[in-house]
């Protein structure tokens, strides 16, 4: 990863110095090794804190909505999964392709600091990735862990390591998609009884604190005014721990991004209560795939989405419910 970071920094400096771009969106060093923050660099001098490591899990594409409206071109570093979101934003006219310079970067899967903590590793000072292993240095010593065990859950089921869009590429090593099937857990839930599923979601959603992190980080949630913030909508309630409002918020949010969600997994990554929110979106993805043909949001920046198109022979809702539709 080190060589990737160096090259990224070098290119960022070149682009800024030559004036080709007015700003570069990347990551800068946080307080620790494991908390880099998305950042906008406007000059080469600011690049001192530039960082790219195994903890740069954040999807930067949503920042483009604000940043690319500013004067001049914006360069952005996109991991393969982020490039899907980028296309989706272009498709929805939230950003303009020509305003942005896309640098596709290598990603070997990102790490989850909470999983490290569960393994008893705290006060991490550095992490070196070595094939299937990660060597974690901390104030309390060095440990070697299997990388698969400490990946962000969104990376475990990484759908593709192919950049969907790029102006240039910084990739040194071959990248591999996730080993786990991303619909495994959805299928498991589908196999449960209604009552079991209800209990599962009730327990998970009861943790929700309605902080809106999932919504605000989601590149598909790009409404200028969310219906849940609009007093005139009649649902802008904030009775944060009312059971119904939790259901309502998550159902409506999942539905609103259905067919547009690229499965970037940011919602689950940011949830302070670790609710597996991606399982909501994946149900829609799975249903769309089964009922209306395989569809991956963000694969292209044009074309219709499953919910804005139809065929005359689409399945009947009642058949879908009875499991008779294919």
């Amino acid at each position: 990863m080190r060589e990737v970071e160096l090259k990224m920094k070098e290119r960022a400096a070149e682009l800024l110095q030559s004036g080709e771009v007015a700003r570069v969106i990347g990551w800068k060093k946080g307080e620790f090794y494991f908390d880099p923050t998305p950042a906008v660099f406007e000059s080469a001098d600011e690049l001192d804190g530039f960082v790219y490591n195994g903890f740069c899990g954040a999807n930067l594409s949503k920042y483009l909505i604000q940043q690319s409206k500013k004067e001049g071109k914006t360069a952005i570093f996109l991991k393969p999964c982020d490039s899907f979101s980028f296309n989706q934003l272009v498709k929805e006219h939230r950003i303009k392709r020509e305003d942005i310079y896309v640098i596709a970067i290598e990603c070997q899967g990102k790490l989850d600091v909470e999983k490290l903590k569960e393994k008893g590793v705290s006060a991490v000072t550095e992490v070196e990735e070595n094939g299937g292993e990660v060597v974690v240095s901390s104030l309390y010593g060095t440990v070697t862990l299997a990388k698969d065990e400490v990946l962000l859950s969104k990376c475990e089921t990484c759908k593709s390591k192919v950049h969907q869009v790029k102006d240039e590429e910084i990739v040194f090593n071959e990248m591999q998609a996730g080993k786990k099937d991303r619909f495994e857990m959805v299928e498991k839930l589908e196999a449960m009884t209604e009552a079991e599923r209800f209990a599962f979601w009730k327990e998970q959603l009861s943790k929700c604190i309605r902080c809106n992190a999932c919504r605000n980080v989601c590149p598909a949630c790009s409404c200028i005014k969310c219906v849940f913030d609009n007093p005139a909508s009649g649902v802008a309630a904030k009775a944060n721990d009312s059971e119904f409002e939790e259901q309502m918020f998550h159902i409506i949010r999942a539905f609103h991004v259905a067919g547009r969600c690229t499965d970037c997994g940011e919602c689950s990554r940011v949830c302070p209560q670790n609710i597996p929110l991606h399982l909501l979106n994946r149900k829609f993805i799975k249903d769309i795939d089964t009922l209306y043909g395989e569809y991956q949001a963000g694969e292209t920046a044009d074309g219709k989405t499953p919910l804005t198109s139809y065929t005359e022979s689409d399945a009947e809702p009642n058949d879908v419910m009875n499991g008779e539709a294919k």
Binding site: V186, L189, E190, E194, A195, E196, R197, F198, A199, F200, W201, K202, V227, G234, V235, A239, S242, E243, F244, E245, Q247, M248, I251, I252, A254, F255, A258, L280, K283, F284, D287, I288, L291, Y292, P306, L307, T308, Y310, T311, E312, D314, A315, E316, P317, N318, V320, M321, N322, A325
Partner: protein
């Protein structure tokens, strides 16, 4: 929350979203033909079945509906040509999703009822009411605050 096992004398609240051009006219025809359907079916007329935002369905449940049925023109017969094709996809996904959240699948339904199908309207409603009555009160997708003091 306790699951209700007792079902005696339970009359469900049913919300039926009916498109103005077919299903609402179908309900009208049922009425003028003296075909009955239960009084606890509350019809909400919408310009097209496609007008029904998932939020409406949730709102209905929040306010105490035990079942929600959506009726529109038969696919291909939409007054606005294609509206109900979109409805079909939307509601397939929404209802499937609600079921994934553990909401009983018998609580939701989509039926196509034309303006000429007064008898069918009445039969559909009777059947749906029966189905929801057997299922019992909606406890999984409802706002307890609304029902407070009842």
């Amino acid at each position: 929350m306790q699951e209700v096992t007792e079902k005696k004398e339970f009359t469900p609240n049913i919300v039926a979203f009916c498109c103005n051009w077919c299903s609402y006219a179908g309900a009208d025809l049922a009425g003028s033909s003296r075909l009955t359907y239960p009084a606890n079916v509350k019809i909400i007329r919408v310009p097209c079945s496609c007008r029904v935002n998932p939020m409406f369905v949730l709102k209905a449940f929040q306010q105490g509906a035990d079942g929600v049925i959506l009726c529109g023109c038969h696919p291909g017969d939409c007054y606005y040509v294609t509206g109900n094709y979109y409805t079909r996809r939307r509601m397939s996904l929404l209802y499937s999703f609600l079921n994934y959240m553990g909401i009983e699948k018998e609580r939701t339904r989509v039926e196509w009822v034309s303006a000429a199908e007064g008898a069918r309207f009445s039969a559909v409603m009777n059947d749906f009411v029966k189905q929801v009555t057997e299922l019992g009160e909606n406890r999984r997708l409802t706002d307890l605050r609304v029902k407070e003091g009842e």
